[in-house]
């Protein structure tokens, strides 16, 4: 059985089959929602942004030329929609100070995280991510979760390839420090109970 590609769905939508769009929404809703959530910071707003993104994408579908992947094009829309939303709310996230990271620290953190339950760990990471600037959260998600090439990420966030590289390097250090502050006390507590 041949797999239906995004391009096939787009062709169907263009020829008047609106329902084909539900397949694309179903395929990308979680990633779009996650990106929106990591940008705007709460589920209610993220749902609104994600919905807005899909409606905008549908409206603009005629202008999608297929020079980039549909996902790249869609993530750029969710990124821009989230930025507009944040601008409206004028919410500013203060940047985390970056300290030096050493190998031993990373090892300890990995150990500490193993003691935390999956759901708790997920919530903790989400909270830590929210302490990062919006752009950093998106960069980390696209690079480490979606495993997108740097070139495609630079197209989404509209910054140069080198800048993406630098920002990614900084943001992972920032995330590490935030997590360290959250996880270390739990780990120490666990150790003292042992």
């Amino acid at each position: 059985m041949t797999q239906i590609t995004d391009q096939d769905y787009i062709a169907q939508i263009r020829s008047g089959n609106v329902n084909a769009y539900s397949a694309l929404v179903g395929k990308y809703k979680d990633m779009v929602f996650t990106l929106a959530l990591r940008m705007v910071g709460n589920k209610e707003d993220a749902e609104e942004v994600a919905q807005d993104t899909f409606v905008k994408a549908y409206r603009k579908l005629e202008t999608f030329q297929g020079t980039s992947k549909f996902s790249t094009w869609l993530y750029r829309i969710v990124y821009n929609t989230s930025l507009d939303y944040i601008k409206k709310r004028k919410r500013v996230v203060l940047s985390e100070h970056i300290d030096v990271v050493n190998e031993a620290d990373i090892g300890n953190m990995q150990n500490a995280l193993t003691y935390i339950e999956a759901q708790e760990k997920k919530e903790m990471i989400e909270k830590a991510l929210l302490q990062l600037p919006e752009e950093d959260r998106v960069l980390l998600t696209l690079f480490y979760f979606e495993e997108m090439p740097l070139k495609e990420i630079s197209e989404i966030v509209k910054i140069s390839y080198d800048n993406v590289k630098i920002k990614l390097h900084r943001s992972r250090k920032k995330l590490f420090h935030i997590l360290k502050n959250v996880v270390e006390p739990i780990y120490l507590n666990h150790g003292s109970r042992k």
Binding site: V18, N19, Y21, S22, V25, G26, K29, D30, M31, F33, T34, L37, K43, A46, E47, A50, Q51, F54, V55, Y58, R59, V101, N102, E103, I106, G107, M109, Q110, L113, A118, K121, K122, I125, E126, L129, L140, T141, Y144, F145, H169, R172, K173, L175, F176, L179
Partner: protein
């Protein structure tokens, strides 16, 4: 330094993968599709039955015919030299004097009639198309 970067890179990857994806509410897809359907309904823009070019051609032809007919009219009627007076029954001869209709006017009326017939055909076709789309 290189090893440290690699380790941090791996650590970040694990952390982000652990965080995974979040899902919107279960009715998200329905809501999006409802919005999209609304968009499709409002998307219908007015499309004239006869395009601008069509009107230009019709207008030009109309002006051309009017000009030719008024300028070069030889006073000939569509019926040519046929004498239909024999068909007239004296009894039914109208008592009211009907003013003579100029030939040009008759031609114009004839063409107008053709336009109306074409329009009706086009309107019917458009209405059928819209009905089919609704079904």
């Amino acid at each position: 330094m290189e090893a440290e970067n690699k380790k941090l890179d791996q650590f970040t990857k694990e952390v982000i993968q652990d965080a995974g994806l979040s899902s919107p509410t279960p009715d998200f897809l329905t809501n999006v599709m409802a919005e999209v359907s609304k968009e499709t309904a409002t998307e219908k823009v007015y499309k004239p039955l006869i395009s601008k070019v069509g009107w230009l051609i019709i207008g030009s032809l109309f002006i051309l015919f009017s000009f030719v007919l008024t300028r070069f009219s030889l006073g000939l009627s569509i019926l040519g030299d046929w004498d239909l007076s024999s068909l007239m029954i004296e009894k039914y001869k109208p008592t009211i004097e009907i003013p003579e209709i100029p030939v040009t006017y008759a031609y114009c009326f004839f063409f107008l009639l053709i336009f109306v017939v074409i329009q009706v055909k086009l309107i019917r076709r458009q209405l059928d198309k819209n009905l089919n789309n609704l079904n």
